[in-house]
């Protein structure tokens, strides 16, 4: 950690899609107001069973990832897998299949402490259930989700060792959480 002022992103203790070093500004910037953007967060069913969603984020300095998590919606079902990929689509770490548990709450899983960065990465979330819900945000239109650099892969549960990214088809931005803290 530098002792001088520095201009970079990536040192946050928690990284999520709305972090400035992820797609946050691209999403908030196309909403009517910040309040509207936040108000759009709601419980909604996962786009399709076994779909995986990939959200880009960047790190300007190394971080030590200790936990991965997501926010469940009002109904939990099936299993979830959460992970991190590099830009070549290589899975760097993941929680493995985890029974979804706890409605309307953060669910997190301890992972092997893993150093990441600097560089560009994807946070990924997959569910094997079409009835599982997550707290998700939406853009004005799915076209603006594409604008962010998000991607998807069908038939990707558990998260594959190598991802094959495809164009997103759903206006659905889950809250994936990358913790550098051991305690949530």
């Amino acid at each position: 950690m530098g002792i001088f002022p520095s201009l970079y992103l990536g040192g946050s203790m928690v990284i999520h899609p709305f972090s400035p070093n992820s797609i946050g500004q691209k999403i908030v910037g196309q909403q009517t107001t910040f309040a509207t953007g936040l108000a759009d967060g709601a419980s909604a069913v996962w786009p399709a069973a076994n779909d995986a969603l990939f959200i880009p984020f960047s790190l300007s300095e190394p971080v030590l990832v200790k936990r991965l998590g997501w926010t469940n919606g009002a109904t939990v079902a099936g299993n979830v897998d959460c992970g991190i990929y590099d830009t070549a689509g290589v899975r760097l770490l993941s929680t493995g299949t985890t029974a979804q548990s706890g409605t309307s709450a953060i669910q997190s899983v301890d992972v092997t402490d893993t150093q990441l960065g600097p560089g560009l990465f994807y946070m990924a979330l997959a569910s094997d259930s079409a009835t599982a819900t997550f707290n998700r945000y939406i853009a004005s239109d799915v076209m603006f989700v594409k604008f962010t650099g998000m991607a998807k892969q069908a038939t990707a549960f558990v998260l594959p060792a190598t991802a094959t990214l495809a164009t997103v088809t759903a206006n659905y931005i889950p809250t994936i959480l990358i913790f550098t803290q051991g305690l949530v």
């Binding site: 001088f4 300007s60 650099g149």
Partner: protein
């Protein structure tokens, strides 16, 4: 060059003017994007972006509005800060309504530095998704410029003061899949 240790942030796959690697919104965030007609036949609009690290841009893209026609033609490109065209798609027929249309370009290394993403259209019959603003100065503060007669995109841009109250949604990507 900063005198303190400097670790540049890295753009996340896509670049657009309302991101932190653009100018961001200025003033209020007035309303959600909507389908709007192109302001003037053969006009080009130049939206600023920047990158602190080198990037290879492989595609440009825009959002078509509710009214499209294959007879409408679009040209997208990237310009240097001084108005030199670095790459462009060339004249391309407008695609489907209310969809993101991709424009494959020659893979082009840009950055670090400031650039413009340019969009030109040869007709006012075309519509695109654009960000309405309450005042022209909001757009001027973003740094967007225009050029009245610039289709196809010229080798050298002649920037003029922007006089619209909305800004088009245009992006660039380092990834083949958009």
């Amino acid at each position: 060059m900063p005198e303190f240790p400097y670790k540049p942030s890295i753009p996340t796959v896509t670049l657009c003017w309302w991101d932190i690697f653009g100018s961001g919104h200025v003033g209020s965030l007035e309303s959600v994007p909507s389908s709007t007609t192109w302001p003037s036949a053969n006009m080009a609009l130049y939206t600023p972006v920047w990158t602190p690290v080198p990037l290879v841009i492989v595609k440009l893209f825009i959002l078509n509005g509710a009214t499209v026609n294959a007879a409408n033609n679009i040209d997208l490109g990237i310009y240097s800060e001084d108005g030199t065209r670095l790459v462009s798609s060339g004249s391309t027929a407008q695609g489907s309504a209310n969809t993101l249309q991709e424009f494959d370009i020659t893979d082009t290394l840009i950055g670090p530095g400031k650039f413009y993403l340019a969009q030109a259209c040869d007709t006012t019959a075309a519509t695109f998704w654009q960000f309405p603003l309450n005042a022209v100065w909001h757009a001027k503060a973003v740094g967007i410029k225009e050029q009245a007669t610039a289709f196809a995109l010229p080798a050298s841009a002649t920037f003029a003061t922007f006089a619209r109250s909305w800004i088009p949604a245009i992006g660039a990507t380092t990834r083949v899949v958009v």
